[in-house]
Amino acid sequence: MTAGAIVAHAPARRRLFPSSLWLVVPGILFLLLFFVLPVMRLLTLSFQDPTTGAWSLASYWHIVKTDVYIRVLGITFSISGYTAIFSVLLGYPVAYWLARMPERQRGPLLLLVMIPFWTSYLVKTFAWTIMLGRAGVINTLLMSLGIISEPLSLIHNRFGVMVGMVHSMTPLAVVTMLPVMIGIDRSLVDAAKTLGATPAHAFWTVYFKLSLPGLTAAGLLVFISSLGFFIVPALLGGRLDTMLAQLIITQVQELLNWSFAGALAAMMLAAALLSCWVYDRMFGLSSISGQSGQESASRLRLVAQHVLHALASVSARLADLMRAVIGGQGTARLLPAAVWLVLGFLILPTLVVVPVAFTSSQFLDFPPPGYSLRWFDTYFSSQLWISATVRSFLVATVTAVLATAIGGFSALALARSQSRWNGLIFGFFLAPLIVPRIIIAVGLFYLFAQMGLVATNAGLIIGHTVLAVPFTFVTMAAVLKSYDWRLDQAAATLGANRLSTLTQVTIPLLKGGIVAALLFAFITSFDELTIAIFISGGITTTLPKQMWDDMILQLNPTLAAVSVVVSVVITAVLLAAERFRRPA
C-alpha cells in the first residue's frame, strides 16, 4: 500500500471518530462569563475608590482600622468553624450507619438525610424560630412540665445560631462523607480483627483512618458554606452574631458601596481558598470527589497514627465499661440509638411548621389553639404569593434543563476524552460550589446591572444555572463513570447507527442520572435565595425571596403555610428522583 493511499483515506477516518472534548466548550464559556468574570470584577472593585475609580486600598484600610469589621470576621470564622466541627461529629455516625447498610435498604433510609438536605434553609430556620422562641415549643414544653418557671432565652443569641447552623449543615456533612465510607472495603476491618485488633482498634486504626478524607472534605465544605451564610444569623442570632454575608448585603443593598462589599467578599473568598489550600496540602483535593487522596507527609502520618492508637485504647476501655454497665446487647444498640437521635434532630423540628400552618390563631403559638385553613387561603388568594410561586416554578424548570444540558455535555466530554486537562476542567466545574454563594450573587448583581438583566427571569435563570451546574455535572459524571461504553460499541457492531445507539441504548441507560440531575437542579433553583435577594425584587420576586422579605418584616402563620407548600413540592420532587434513579 502506498503512502498516497493512506493519506487519501485519513480524512474520512477522522470523521468517523470525532473528538468529544469540544462538547465541554459551551459549559466553560458559560462559567467564564457568568461565574469567573463577575467574581473577578467584584474583587477588582475592592481595589478601586468608589467615587473616582482610581486604584486604592481604602476599602481594606477601612476594614482593618474599624474593629467592628474585624470582630464580624472573627465571629464568622468561629461560627463557621464550630458548625463544621459539630456537623461532622453529628454526621459521622449517620454516614457510618448508612454506609454499613445493604444497598437495598440504604436507598429509602438515605431519604431521611436527603429530605433535610434539600429542605429549604428558610423553612428550616423558620421552624427553629417556632421551636426556640420565648413562647416556642421547647419553652412551652419545659414550663408545662414544671422544669423551668421562666422561659429560657434560646433565640437571638449564639446558641440559637449554632443550633440553626448545625441543623442546616449536618445533612451536607453526611452526604459528603457517605461516598467515601461506602468505598471502604469492610473486609479490611475484619482482617484487622483476625490479626488481633480489638473492635475499637480495628475501627480507629483502619476504618476511621480510611474515612478521614471524607470526614475532612465534609468539614471543609461545611466550613466554606457557612462562611457565606446569612439566613440563620439574621433570624436566630442577636446583634452580636452578625456574620460577614449580612454585612455584604447591607453594603450592597443599602449603601451601594461596591468597593467595600468587594473587599469584604475578597476576605471571605480568601478564607475559603485558604482553607481549600490547607486541605489540599494535607489530604489532596481529589478526595472531595470521593477518590482517595494521597498519603500525607510522613511526620504527620506518624502523629496521626499515635493519636488514632490512643483513641482506640481509650474507646476500647470505654467499650468494656459500657458492656459491663448495660450489657453487650445494649452496647450494640448505642449506634442506632445515636443515629436515630440525630435523624430526629434533623427531621422533627421542621415538621413543627405543619400544625402551625393550620392554626386558627394569628400568632405562631404552639400547640395551636384551634385549626383552620385560613393561612392557606391567604396564600392561595394572594396575587403576590401566587405569582412568586409561578415564577419560581418557571425559573426552576428552565434552570433544570439548562444546567442539566451544560453539566451533562461537559461530563460526557470528560468521560470520553483522555486529555491531560481533564482534572483541571473537572475542578473548574466544581468551583461554584467552593466560592461562597454570596460572592457569586453580588458579582452577578454588578454584571447584570450593566447588562440590564436585574429583575428579569433571564438573570435569575443564569444565576441559578451557575449554582446548579456543579450538581448536574457531578451527577452526570457519576453515572457516566459507571457507564459501560462497550454497550455503545456492541450496538454499533450489531448494526445500530449513531442515532439509534443514542436513543435506544445510551439515553435509556443514562435516564436515571439525567432525571436526577434535572430534579436536583430544579430544587437548587426553586429554593435559591442568595441570588434572588439581589436579582429578583418588586414584581419579579421568587418564592424564597418573598418568604425572606416577609420573615424580616414580621413572622406570621402564612409563612408556615408557604413552608408546607414548598416542602411538599421538594419532597415530591425528591421521591420522584429516587424512583427514577433506581433501574427498572
Partner: protein, 360 residues
Amino acid sequence: MAHQTERQATTAPPKLRLEGLSKRYGAVTALEPSNLQVNAGEFLTLLGPSGSGKTTLLQLISGLTEISAGQILIDGRDQSNTLVHQRDIGLVFQHYALFPHLTVAENIEFPLKMRGVTRDEIKQRLARALEMVHLEELAARFPRELSGGQQQRVALARCFVYKPSIILMDEPLGALDKKLRDQMQIEIKRLHRESGATIIYVTHDQDEALAMSDRICLMNKARIEQVDTPHEIYNRPKSAFAADFIGISNIFRGTAIDGPHGVRITTPSGDFIPPAGTAPGMASCALVIRPEHIRIGAGTANTARGGVYEIVYAGSETRVLVALPGEQRVIIRLPPGNAVPQIKETITFSWEPDAAVVVP
C-alpha cells in the same frame, strides 16, 4: 514478514484479507504492519500473551478502532472505511456487553430490528436462536438475572441471529470457570459448524486454541509470529517463542556448526545431533524438544545427564524436572507405568534427532 497460508488452492478471494494493517497509539505500536488471510468458514484463533495486540487486531477488523495504515478486504472488497454498523461483522465481547435494560429476547432481537427485519421474521429467528442456545425458558429475563454461562449464551445468540459472515470473539470464555468453559467450547464449535460462519477467536489459553481452531495465528509483541494448523504449530514451531508459548518445550540455545560427522548443535550442555537436513552456519539457533519425546536412559544419538530437582504428578503423566550444568533445565514427561526416579538422583536421558526442531 508475510506468513501466507500454505493452502491457497481456491481461486475465490479469501473471506478476509488484511494487507499491511497496523495501529499506533502515539508512540506505542499496538500492531506492526501485518498480513493475514482467513478463508470462508474457517475457525482461526488469535493466540498470544497479554498486550500482544489481539484485541487491537479484532477492533481494527470490526471498525471500532481507526486503522493507522493498511487495508481490510472482505470478500475481496476494501472495507477499511466502512462504518462499524454497516460491516457484515459480528463481535462477541469478553464480558458479553448485554444491554442491561433489555430482556434476553429484546437483546437478541436488537440487531434484527436495526436491520429492519419484518416482525414475523424476527419472531421466527428469535425462536430459532433461543432454541440454538437452549434458552427458551429464559427469554423474558433480564441479563442480570442470568448466570455467567447463560449470559454468554445470550451474547452468542445475539451475534449468530443476524448471520454475519464473519464473527469475532474476544476471549468470550475468559470469565467462566474451567468446567463451563469446556462445555461452551463444544457449543461454540457446534454453532460454527451449523452456521458456516468465518470465526476469528481470541484466547489466552493455548489448550483452547489447540482444541478449537482450524488454524492458529500466534501473536507476540504486536506482530504475527506464525499462522498454521494446530498440528503444524505444535510440531513445527518456527521460532523459539512459538515453541515456548505453545505446549511445554525444552529449548537448548547454541550454534549450528559443520563438523567431521555432519552438522552439530553446540550448546553449553553438550553437542547434539540436529534433525536431518539442518543447514550449518547458524550463529545463534535453538534446539527444541518436546518433553514427551525424551526417554530416560542412554540412547544411540543424543544423550545428556542431569540431576532431578522436582517431580510433578499431573494425573495422566508424571513430569520429571532435571537440572543440567550451566543453568539448563529439562522437563521429561513419563507416561503412567514408567519407573519414576528419585529427587537428587542423577539420570541419563536421550532423544532421537528427528524428534527435535531447530529454530532461529
